[in-house]
């Protein structure tokens, strides 16, 4: 595929998500388990297109990617709260702020992921998984209507969606870890080799 065409991908993905917002925010499950993850992944895609340039630019302020990963965790926490979801749907300015903060989370996490290394990655992966499971169980069990803009019957589906994401993240994580040269003790692929393999052309 032509490189120039591929560069349209993040912008096109973002445009599609933004255009489909009314549809994606029509139910709580789609909003939490589809729109927000799509925005985050779009951000990650953006950072992968920008490549090392962005990583180098933020590096002086982003030791081991920790500030970026803390930012993304807190943004995730904020937009998992029913009161914040209500505001995002009812108030267009806050809806835009949600869009921006989540895409930014994806961008900075994408640009910091490799810098973070296995230990710090693990910390944030398990933090995200436990947050999703806790939120998912809360939404699944709550007897009252939590969001003003979503029916009480949708909460259980949204909760299941969050737990499904937790499982997907865990599965991806175990797959990624199992391939990590540090874990496999693979002598042939030293960190230096990995750098040359993944560096942009």
């Amino acid at each position: 595929m032509n490189q120039r065409h591929v560069d349209f991908l993040p912008g096109a993905a973002l445009a599609v998500v933004v255009m489909l917002r009314p549809l994606l925010e029509a139910t709580m499950a789609r909003h939490m388990a589809l729109e927000i993850p799509l925005l985050f992944l779009t951000g990650w895609l953006v950072s992968s297109r920008i490549g090392q340039r962005l990583t180098k630019q933020i590096a002086p302020w982003n030791a081991y990617g920790v500030p970026a990963l803390v930012y993304a965790s807190l943004a995730g926490l904020l937009w998992m709260m029913p009161v914040a979801l209500d505001l995002a749907v009812l108030n267009p300015a806050i809806g835009l702020l949600k869009l921006f903060t989540i895409v930014l989370a994806g961008v900075v996490v994408g640009a910091s992921w490799r810098e973070a290394g296995l230990v710090i990655q693990s910390f944030f992966v398990f933090n995200a998984v436990s947050m999703l499971v806790a939120g998912g169980l809360l939404y699944g069990q709550a007897p009252d209507q939590l969001c003003s803009v979503y029916l009480v019957g949708q909460q259980a589906i949204a909760g299941d969606g969050l737990i499904a994401w937790a499982l997907v993240i865990l599965a991806f994580w175990f797959y990624a870890v199992s391939r990590d040269p540090m874990i496999r003790g693979d002598e042939s692929s030293s960190p230096a080799n990995i750098e040359t393999q993944t560096a942009p052309p």
Binding site: N62, M81, D86, L146
Partner: protein, 208 residues
């Protein structure tokens, strides 16, 4: 500055912004739902109600902004007459309150108002039937709706109520039992399932 020092600064800025943002939406870490946030907002500063006309079950007009009177409190619920779910809880709560207010001799001090948010279907006739069915004492319990259907959104916004069409052709909404104080201001939102708590709170306030 070293990278670690700069990163510590970045981290502090991120934590400060997150504390402000999360602190704001949760009203100082006190609420995770809009209903909880509304309760805290009203407790901090009672809210004026918009000046719009309501029409009651006898066809008389009431101004929403003029519910206050010296020494009189009003407990308000929102409903629609065709409701099969949570409005019934609100209705039985108002019935319970009417009985308690009467038996405690508080009829001059606490009044009840039930406002329909379905003005197209809930005409004066429907409301009168509803009032009759629930044995509403017209001196104590007023059943009304917005006189102009165009005012509906303003009325709902004043109470912070969002009405959603549900899967069974009705509506779902975040119900509450609202207190309008003697100045006519929206002063509190009680749990709609606990009119007994609301009454106990009012009696306690009266003593102080």
């Amino acid at each position: 500055m070293s990278t670690v020092q700069r990163s510590a600064v970045a981290l502090l800025v991120i934590l400060a912004l997150a504390t402000v943002a999360i602190g704001y939406v949760t009203r100082g870490f006190g609420a995770i739902t809009t209903d909880g946030a509304r309760r805290i907002d009203l407790m901090k500063s009672p809210k004026s109600l918009p000046d719009l006309p309501l029409v009651n079950s006898t066809g008389r007009f009431i101004r929403l902004s003029a519910l206050g009177a010296p020494g009189k409190l009003t407990l308000v619920t929102l409903f629609y007459a065709h409701c099969e779910t949570i409005c019934r809880v609100g209705t039985s709560g108002q019935s319970y309150l009417q009985n308690e207010i009467r038996s405690r001799g508080l009829a001059g001090q606490i009044r009840l108002l039930t406002i329909s948010f379905d003005p197209r279907r809930d005409t004066a006739g429907t409301l009168a039937e509803y009032a009759h069915r629930n044995r509403a004492d017209p001196e104590l319990w007023t059943v009304a709706t917005v006189a102009r259907p165009a005012d509906l959104q303003v009325m709902l916004a004043a109470f912070g109520v969002v009405v959603l069409p549900d899967e069974w052709g009705g509506y779902s909404h975040n119900a509450a039992l609202f207190l309008v104080d003697s100045r006519g201001k929206l002063a509190y939102a009680y749990d709609v399932n606990r009119p007994d708590d609301a009454l106990a709170d009012l009696l306690e306030k009266r003593q102080n």
